[in-house]
Amino acid sequence: MKKLLSLLIATAMTISLCACGGAASGAADTSDAAGSDGKLNIKAGFICLHDENSTYDLNFITGAKAACEKLGIEGVFKTNIPEGQECYDAACELADQGCGYIFADSFGHEDYMIEAAKEYPDIQFCHATGTKAHTENLANFHNAFASIYEGRYLSGIAAGMKLNEMIADGKITEDQAKIGYVGAFTYAEVISGYTSYFLGARSVCPSATMEVTFTGSWYDETAEKEGANNLINDGCVLISQHADSMGSPTACENAGVFNSSYNGPTDNACPETYISYCKIDWEPYFEDSITKAANGEAIPTDYVGTLETGSVVIDHFGKNIAEGTEEAVEAARADIIAGKIHVFDTKTFTVDGAELTSYMADVDTDANYEGDHEVIVDGYFNESGDGLRSAPYFDLQIDGITLLDTAF
């Protein structure tokens, strides 16, 4: 009897839900983005993997809030959205709420944003760090990244200056100028990051070498701390990292080893050993893409923010940096903007002992890990190049860098 009753209730519940679903889908989506008084008439939705407590997401939230304020529009934030169907649901909820522009900040959100973009062709979907926009051929789905490798290169220069100072002071010999790097995964974004950082350091300190370890997580404080400690025990005299916790900077402060930071300055917690940080400032992208979405203009399929657009930031140095660091970084920044320096200039590095003249990079995302685009152009590796994709694809293992583990 009870079973029958429950079945009946379940059925009734289901049917009533179906009825609701049918009725409401027609009524939704009545908003449109036509400006009336010069102000942008659009609501922007932002999907974040975590909340402000994660430095990674905080960086997006800060940029998004600044852009919304500047444009005078409403921003709706959905935080703690996992990289699963929840992202699709969140995007659809934002669409239900009348957002004409929807953004997601984490790599794993991409496929779910694409699903939502297919369903809502009138809404613009933008996604940071993704790789698929240039092959999906959806008019309303766009990727964005920044030439953060340029910021890393400049960070590397600051680090190389510090190494030079240590050599000049007799603290280490030239051969001991070994840098350590704590990476998350053996992912192109990470490889591009540590390689550019290393090339920056080596451009001022020619004897520099590097060791890299991977943690297999974007945020694992214990593993990052442990990784940094292992590198220090291995003789690394300077550390940088591409993972989001304070594990590595803290380990460096405790051991008195200098550290180049990412996403934000860490000199509050690590005043003695902090050298510099670099980060992507997302505000310029948000401003640009939201304005275009509101005005019905085309948003670039792959947007690459640069030093010039203000998207790549390196602006805060520690108190113990080597003399002349800021001037050297400033000079290199100007040279990069002027096109005099290319970070991945093939004359500055070798792969298996040979200079690179041709390389097919795996730019298109598919199940085959095979190269599909020639990326050596005019004597440099064309990272995040026009017509390719915004997310990094530099995945070469250059001489001078030793990978301690590649399990991830």
Binding site: C18, D51, N53, D111, Y112, Y187
Partner: protein
């Protein structure tokens, strides 16, 4: 207190059967008190009008048609895991390995989708997926059951540890199947061909898990209440010695029950991977294997009461996300409120089970 008096101020007696209305009344009072405490804490710590927070929680769960659907979908997933665990709990076999069993079920489905997708007819693929999910989940239930039956190992420990093994196995395959290389993410499987995606019922993305949950609820109720197996489970739970005496093969019952429990969890893995997320991650179960333990206990192993208890958890969880969005509060604040409410709901069981007698026939004495 200097006590010459033999009768204490308060004493407790175990209640016998309590009338249903009374039991429900006690629980309603508990929830009301919990809401008042939540309101006070909200007011004191955030300065936000608690009523606004409550209405925000409700709109988080039911604010739109889509939100309502998702709430029921989440409810269904949690409910099926809870039911799966309940079958084992009825036998006093503390299966806290739901997490791992769900993951293995998901792995089975994902493996078929990735390795066989677009190569064999979709109907065959889905049948293979169902089989491999159920079998992998069942194996993850079988191993601790076998150890318990043969060597009398502690099932709480072994089922728990099986979770970690499952997580690592799934992590291994995530790295093996990742796209693009190094990203640590599989992404949506067969996004364009939809091979191996479970069909939508009546054109709704959200209906399938709800229907499955309804079916599993009815099945579990009948199974534990009206079948010989269900009876054997109860007897083994009450007293293994009695079971031996009446001729029940205890080992067989333990293993059979855990295979069923694991297979039902595997079914959830199948739904999560092939019906909802269309990907596999080590966190796809999202702790629900553990939350389900709470759901099952709170419902006192009653399948229908479990609909209510899993509803409370899902409702509060969905609400917590909405509070975070609309008041700029952290997700954690919603979790705090959930914690308070659960504290009162679980705490009130004490008053359902025990009667409190306060001494009132003596005169007031000096302290």
């Amino acid at each position: 207190m200097d006590n010459k008096a033999k009768e204490p101020l308060i004493h407790l007696t175990k209640r016998g059967q309590i009338p249903l209305y009374k039991a429900i009344l006690i629980r309603i009072i508990a929830i009301v008190i919990a809401l008042i405490v939540c309101a006070v804490i909200t007011g004191l710590t955030t300065g936000i009008n608690p009523l606004e927070v409550y209405s925000s929680i409700i709109s988080g769960a039911f604010g739109s048609v889509r939100k309502t659907w998702i709430t029921f979908q989440d409810l269904s997933i949690l409910l099926i895991i809870s039911l799966a665990l309940t079958i084992a709990f009825r036998m006093r076999f503390w299966n806290i390995g739901g997490e791992g069993q769900v993951l293995m079920g998901g792995l089975g489905a994902a493996a078929c989708m990735i390795c066989l997708g677009e190569r064999i007819p979709n109907a065959v693929l889905i049948i293979l997926m169902i089989i491999s999910s159920l079998v992998l989940g069942a194996i993850w239930g079988f191993i601790p059951a076998f150890c318990k039956a043969v060597w009398n190992t502690n099932e709480t420990l072994s089922t728990l540890m099986m979770n970690y093994i499952a997580t690592q196995i799934v992590l291994y395959y995530t790295i093996l199947w990742e796209v693009p290389k190094g990203s640590g993410k599989i992404g949506i499987i067969n996004q364009n061909s939809h091979a191996g995606w479970l069909p939508q019922l009546f054109g709704s993305k959200y209906l399938l898990p709800i229907v499955v949950a309804a079916a599993v609820t009815a099945f579990t109720y009948i199974y534990i209440k009206y079948t010989k197996h269900g009876y054997e489970i109860r007897v083994v739970g009450e007293s293994p010695k009695t079971s031996v005496y009446v001729g029940i093969n205890v080992k067989k019952v333990i293993i059979r029950t855990m295979i069923l429990s694991g297979a039902l969890c595997g079914l959830v893995g199948l739904i999560l991977v092939a019906g909802i997320n269309h990907t596999l991650t080590p966190t796809i179960s999202d702790g629900r294997g553990f939350t389900a333990v709470l759901v099952s206990w709170m419902a006192q192993f009653n399948p229908f009461a479990m609909i209510a208890t899993s509803f409370i958890i899902v409702f509060m969880d969905r609400g917590a996300g909405e509070i975070a969005t609309s008041f700029d509060l952290n997700q954690s604040f919603g979790d705090i409120l959930t914690g308070i409410i659960l504290f009162f709901i679980i705490g009130c069981e004490f008053f359902v089970n025990y009667e409190i007698h306060i001494r009132n026939h003596k005169k007031e004495r000096e302290r």
